[in-house]
């Protein structure tokens, strides 16, 4: 294509500079400042000696390990649910969306609803005195609110998982739908004419075709849940709390000497997230090379 210019880097550099400057100062600056503070250098608080104590304190604390475990658990389960239902809904909707604007609109609603609102609604629906519990009580299925399972403020983070699945299913679904629409019906008709059953067509044609787009989307989904803050603040327990909440609690602790620990934890969070970024870029490259080659 003629439109992809390979030019001396002056023009793109000029176009990029303002945005990169802002992002670079905020992002790289934030990470550097967190590093400095995590090593115990906070002159405003009279702390000037450098040490790795905060990292040791954080990494060996019981709270950190439990929080990491909970965060990985919530992120993994909600990612699995999101991808599963994202693909199922995309497979069902792929022929319908063209015709029904209402269904398309409804399907996209969760993408724009703020997490805080979904979390609040989830509490109203799923708590022991919530709407679902009331319905079960009226159906004679539970004798008292206490008999309703603890889904909110529980140690397994069930409500948090459901909120993120609800928010992100259409994200994965729309990514898959875009693929289904761009490949059209040709591959499927060929497979059908070769005698492939419906299940075989889905398993061996549609799903593999969608993977180059769905795998990177999956990593994004996982990363978003990994950094969850307001949802677990509304729906989680105090102990263990998810990592971002734990970092915020350490930061706002009345004991200011815990600030370095908050910063150390932020760096651990950022490091895990950066690994996910690398995975994402790796996955995108692997799939695009496979497609081109």
């Amino acid at each position: 294509m003629t439109s992809r210019h390979s030019v001396a880097s002056a023009r793109p550099a000029l176009l990029l500079a303002p945005a990169l400057l802002v992002i670079g100062v905020l992002f790289a600056g934030g990470i550097m400042l967190a590093l400095v503070q995590s090593l115990g250098y906070l002159p405003a608080l009279g702390m000037r000696t450098l040490s790795g104590d905060a990292f040791i304190a954080v990494l060996t604390s019981r709270g950190f390990l439990r929080s990491l475990g909970l965060t990985l658990w919530v992120a993994s389960v909600s990612t699995v649910l999101t991808v599963l239902f994202g693909l199922i809904t995309a497979l069902v909707l792929r022929r319908r969306l063209r015709n029904s604007r209402l269904i398309r609109f409804l399907y996209q609603i969760p993408l724009t609803v703020p997490h805080l609102v979904v979390a609040v609604a989830a509490a109203m629906l799923l708590s022991q005195s919530g709407l679902l519990s009331r319905l079960l009580f009226h159906g004679g299925l539970i004798p008292a609110p206490a008999a309703f399972p603890e889904l909110v403020h529980d140690s397994a983070g069930v409500a948090i998982i459901l909120v993120y699945a609800w928010k992100q299913i259409p994200f994965v679904g729309l990514v898959a739908l875009a693929v289904f629409q761009s490949v059209g019906d040709d591959y499927e008709s060929v497979a059908r004419s070769l005698g492939a059953s419906r299940v075989q067509r889905i398993r061996h044609v549609l799903i593999p075709l969608s993977l180059p787009a769905v795998v990177p989307a999956t990593i994004i989904v996982f990363a978003f849940v990994f950094g969850a803050f307001e949802t677990p603040l509304v729906l989680g327990t105090r102990f263990p709390s998810m990592l971002s909440v734990l970092a915020y609690r350490l930061y706002t602790d009345s004991d200011l000497t815990r600030r370095p620990e908050a910063m150390a934890l932020n760096l651990v969070i950022a490091l895990i997230a950066l690994v996910l970024v690398a995975l994402y870029r790796g996955a995108t490259r692997v799939f695009s090379e496979r497609r081109d080659g």
Partner: protein, 276 residues
Amino acid sequence: MDEWRAPRDRIRAMHTVVIAGIVIAVLLPAIPLVIWSLSGGWWFPRLLPEQWSLRSWRYLASPASRVAEATRNSVIIALATTAVSVPLGVPAGRALGLYRFRGKRFAEALVFAPLIVPALAVIMGVQVVLIRAGISATLGGVVVAHLLPALPYMVMVMRAVFSAYDPEYEQQARSLGASRWETLLHVTVPAVLPGVVTGALFVFLISWSQYALTLLVGGGRIITLPVLLFAFVTAGDHAMTGAVSLLFLAPALLILVVSARMLGGRSAGVSGLEGV
């Protein structure tokens, strides 16, 4: 039953179940929000309030509730975040979408990383500088923090827009004698405008929905709608929680409607990333 038709009927039934599931799952969370906002008292195990009331909506409209102040702050912060993100994001998106150049991979990584690394973790590091600069707990400080998730999103949206854009038209316009300014106004802008508007709407929404960064930088002194909403959640006032939630939610739905129109039925919000 006809042996050949049976699976086809089952598939159709399955489709109906999935579509019904989508409709119910999407609308379900709105039900308790609406009912609670209209309730005067709603104890377990009643399915509907024993008393209906407009108390929360009246209180919402009264100056005592601080809803007006919170809405104003939310709008100002989101508009300012958008006003900075769009003029910086559009050219950067053009550079990444149209050109090959040295250091492009690094630039892309730097733009992409803040979309994945939790902004709260990064801004917590920056906060010490915001405090020293005296802009912590100000609207400006909150806008600076909101730029971290918002600006990269705008760049990624515009990158997607420009990688589907053909700059040949600009060259043709120039060779036909159009000035730089005329080319920009009559060729480039009309071609990318739907993408810019959609990106701007979603940047507005990212800032509008932001709670963590406002809480951190605002330090409780900058009251936005999510900050107020969280206060009602903590106070256990379900009626007010429902009402403020619905108010907070309304622009999100409006933006979805508008962006669906702009993109003529294509999917909004996925062009760059989910982001919100």
